[in-house]
Amino acid sequence: MTDTATKKRAKTGLRGLLNSRTATAGAVILICLVVLAAFAPLIAPHDPAKQDLRARLAPPAWVAKGSITHLLGTDQLGRDILSRVIYGTRISLLVGVSVVLLASTVGTLLGLLAGFLGGRVDALLMRIVDVFLAFPFLLLAIVIMAMLGASLTNIILVLAITGWVDYARVVRSQVLSVRELEYITAAKALGARNPVIMLKHILPNVVASVIVIGSLQLGSVIIAEASLTFLGLGIPPSIPTWGSMLASGREYFVLAWWLPTFPGIAIVLTVLSVNFLGDWLRDVFDPTL
């Protein structure tokens, strides 16, 4: 094994991850968030929807008049903020991961088709990509959500519809260079059919870039979901999410700083951890992206 090969292997493995302080921090935070999301009913001290009007707008435990029962305080309806933040993790991660999976699958397949088949398919797909790039993505998402109505499925669909473009472009350009390689010609000469060549011989070459784009996209998807929910165009208010916590009770923010502070910190921490991991993956797999 050559020196560079050894180096690359060391960088990609767990040891490589631990060598990067930011990537390690990202991984640790993300693991904690996944645990919180998975075991929310066991971890959350209260029912996130339970109202207690006598305990409304209680400050966090360490502030004067705060109590241990509500560590991060309560909102205008007396709901426990810590519990709502914990449950909110579920939605943010669910939406983020679903959107990235959906967008990357669609984008990768379309990119493969465009790059491999070329000609009219390619021209048509690239024009569609141009159109998508010509809209500010947030405007597109806002407008489609306004027409579909707020719901969990709709927000996932809308963010996937606006998110596949990056994958399609990158995959296409990589396919263009890979398809000219000799082993593809060899596969063709052996009589392999197009779908087989695309999925078995070309796809493995583009997977690394797809993973990098996905990890970098995850953070922006989480922010987009929270933003749309905040505008009332994302997840319906009945489900506790970070975006809806920031939207409801806006008139109390001035009285109770803890209402907007904690869900916001949750978003920032999540996006930071995902970005740290994404940056690391990019440095390891494909620094040109």
Binding site: R127, D130, V131, A134, F135, P136, F137, L138, L139, I142, V143, I144, A146, M147, G219, I223, A226, S227, F230, L231, G232, L233, L246, R250, F253, V254, W257, P260, T261, G264, I267, V268, V271, L272, N275
Partner: protein, 305 residues
């Protein structure tokens, strides 16, 4: 160059056509707008009558041709809420949005470049760490949350700035800061990497060897070359400020196109929704066209891409 201008402009025309189709679909899919005009107790005949007046009973392709004709004549219909021509309403709001977006741009670019320069020149020092942390945070903090926290801290607790509204120079400080943070972070990150790359090149060593002062090397030789990729990204991102402005304007009650759009969505005022979307998209398309053509003029290599 001529051929590039023509093909790039044709592409822009194609995109605007697509914008028209999308706007058309939105209006027809948003739910039957005639239902919004009839009271729940209204009769079926009432509904049919209104559908006829709005032309919604015609076949879709006929509706589309009529729609394009109306757009060409600048007729986007009347606002349901304000009873005035939608186009007029939207155009009145354009200056406020432009003012906000340009102020944010004017804040983001120098801040980003400065942070990036500090990072690159003082590489691996506490200054670098501080500037990099700011840039990393700028990418992770959602624009709408930053807006809320600014209002809570500077508007409500400290009472230094008006929490929302429009009119005095004080009003624009918080919205433009909130809108510029993301872009400033991108610029800072890019400036750092771009400067570091240029600084390692031979001509910089030559400039130093000639005995130029460090500040002269930095401004005349390094920064000038590092600015090219920065300008590209600023150009690409400038249009996205329009998207971000939708949220910022809504939070700060800034009377721009973005706030008009969200209000119209809440009020089901579909002529105004359609017009705002169209105007924002067309501005975005022309902005991108202008930037692309400008680059082709500056850097001939781009044309052959």
């Amino acid at each position: 160059m001529g051929r590039y201008v023509v093909s790039r402009s044709l592409q822009a025309v194609f995109v605007i056509l697509a914008v028209l189709v999308v706007t058309f679909i939105i209006v027809r899919a948003v739910g039957d707008p005639s239902r919004l005009l009839v009271s729940p107790e209204g009769s079926r005949e009432n509904l049919a009558q209104i559908r006829h007046v709005l032309g919604l009973d015609a076949p879709l392709q006929v509706q589309f041709v009529r729609f394009v004709g109306d757009v060409v004549r600048g007729d986007f219909g009347k606002s349901f809420t304000f009873g005035r021509p939608a186009l007029q309403l939207v155009l009145e709001r354009v200056p406020a949005t432009l003012l906000l977006a340009l102020t944010a741009l004017a804040l983001a670019v120098p801040t980003g470049i400065l942070l990036g320069m500090v990072s690159a020149v003082k590489r691996n020092t506490i200054y670098d760490n501080l500037a990099t942390t700011l840039a990393v945070l700028g990418r992770a903090v959602p624009n709408f949350w930053l807006s809320i926290m600014l209002i809570v801290v500077f508007g409500a607790y400290l009472k230094w700035l008006p929490p929302s509204g429009y009119g005095t120079p004080l009003h624009i400080i918080m919205p433009s800061v909130a809108l510029s943070a993301g872009l400033a972070a991108i610029v800072a990150r890019l400036t750092r990497s771009s400067l570091l790359e240029v600084m390692s090149q031979d001509f910089v060593r030559t400039a130093r060897a000639k005995g130029l002062s460090e500040s002269r090397v930095l401004t005349r030789h390094v920064l000038r070359n590092a600015l090219i990729p920065i300008a590209t990204v600023v150009g690409l991102q400038a249009g996205h400020l329009l998207g971000g402005a939708i949220i910022t304007e809504t939070i700060f009650a800034w009377p721009g196109v973005g706030r008009l759009l969200t209000q119209s969505i809440y009020n089901y005022d579909y002529p105004v929704v359609q017009t705002s979307v169209f105007i924002i998209s067309v501005t975005f398309v022309f902005l991108n066209l202008a930037i692309d053509l400008l680059y082709a003029l500056i850097d001939p290599r781009i044309r052959y891409d």
